[in-house]
Symmetry: C2
Subunit: 226 residues, 2 copies
DNA sequence: TCTCGTATGTACCAGACGGTGAGTTACGGA
DNA sequence: TCCGTAACTCACCGTCTGGTACATACGAGA
């Protein structure tokens, strides 16, 4: 799994003398730029983010952004790729194989729920990228293997559930994943307009348990109804 | 209220001589600016849209944008308000009262599905506004009465369904609306990243019927499962 | 200790950007 | 027919923006 912290090991082979504080450190500088840029792009969108603003929040200078990334757009792409890479690493931890189908399904939905709630910044980046029609993400290596984990686990659960005669068979794993994603993403991505219109904060901790159960009930009922 | 169509009647009392083509027409100019701005903001987001670009696509000049709206931000707010106003008008047409609860529920979900699919530009504006944390929409009069129709109709259906012993009673109308909205909005708003990752175009006409049925099954199963 | 490439800082630029000052013309009422 | 105002045109402005030329300091290897 990718270590989330900038100061992680960068195995150059020798795990020997690691200077605690170097005045010059390409990796640290790069990581710092990425971290600040991620926050800034997630906060204001691609067009709304300012290279100067990112630079001001850096311990280094704007020049370094261009030195390491080449330009605003390439920096944005790097931010996206890092974000997707981290998410993939996290998603692979799911282990619900040992549960019986209905419980496994509910558990998977719940974990996805938790996962999305824990990464609102990522959801914002995804929304922003959708505004741009995913043109920066198209053909990115960061997507490789991103689809597999979520859908594979789900496929296995559905297969077992169908074998036991518990689940309907005209809904495929991707359909179910779409429903779960829709619910989880919507809660975060559309939080503000939903709140403005319906006066409900979908992320209000007080209703979290209810929302989580709602999602579980939803997918379980859907699959167990003929 | 401002007439939505540029060439509509402008009831000056006398319905008499209506100049078919005036060289100067405040309402037409305003409407044209709004239309072009709507397309531009929906396409590129608030920060990404350019006042000059909007002006170039106008038969009038940039100066008129400032004359009628005051500035970029006010223009954006006007675009949002008009868009929400139009959506409200459309939503009030739903009539499913005469159907039995399960059929009514499925019909309402289907109509919402159709409705969202028919207005991708609106969904984009909503996504954009969420990126900005709905700050432009906060306290806007355009929201007044927007929540009522959707939820009221749903409430009535649920109430009838519960009275008939068909529906569970621990899921409220807003929960159901949230689920329906999540599904419908997600399909459009996250179309591009979903496609990039899972290679499924959620708006592909070939799978439209399946998706529409999926949503109906989802909410019906959820409410009819104890 | 020297050397050379990588990493960094400073100062600056050209063009795009949102916005405006000031004058001009069409229109509708008297 | 004339006049006052709403609607409109044109040229312009100051600032911000992404991006860069150039000088320089560090530090690993010889």
């Amino acid at each position: 799994m990718t270590a989330p912290r900038p100061d992680s090991e960068l195995g150059t082979g020798t795990a020997a003398v690691r200077p605690v504080e170097r005045t010059r450190d390409a990796d640290r500088t790069r990581a710092e730029i990425l971290a600040v840029a991620t926050a800034e792009f997630a906060d204001r969108g691609y067009a709304g983010a300012r290279v100067n603003e990112i630079a001001d929040k850096l311990s280094t200078t704007k020049r370094m952004i261009y030195y390491y990334f080449g330009g605003k757009e390439q920096l944005y792409v790097a931010v996206l790729e890092q974000a997707y890479g981290r998410i993939r690493a996290l998603e692979q931890q799911v282990d619900v194989e040992h549960l019986e189908p209905v419980a496994a399904l509910r558990e998977l939905a719940g974990l996805t729920f938790d996962h999305h709630e824990a990464h609102p910044e990522f959801i914002r980046l995804v929304s922003i990228e959708n505004i741009h029609r995913a043109e920066h993400l198209a053909g990115s290596p960061a997507l490789a293997g991103l689809a597999a984990p979520a859908v594979d686990v789900l496929s296995a659960i559905l297969q077992r559930g169908r074998a036991d005669g518990l689940f309907r068979d005209d809904v495929d794993a991707l359909d179910v994943h779409q429903v779960i994603s829709a619910f989880c993403v919507f809660r975060t991505a559309n939080r503000h307009t939903f709140r403005a219109i319906f006066d409900r904060d979908m992320l209000d901790p007080a209703t979290r348990a209810h929302q989580r159960r709602l999602l579980g009930d939803l997918v379980v009922a859907h699959l167990t109804t003929r």
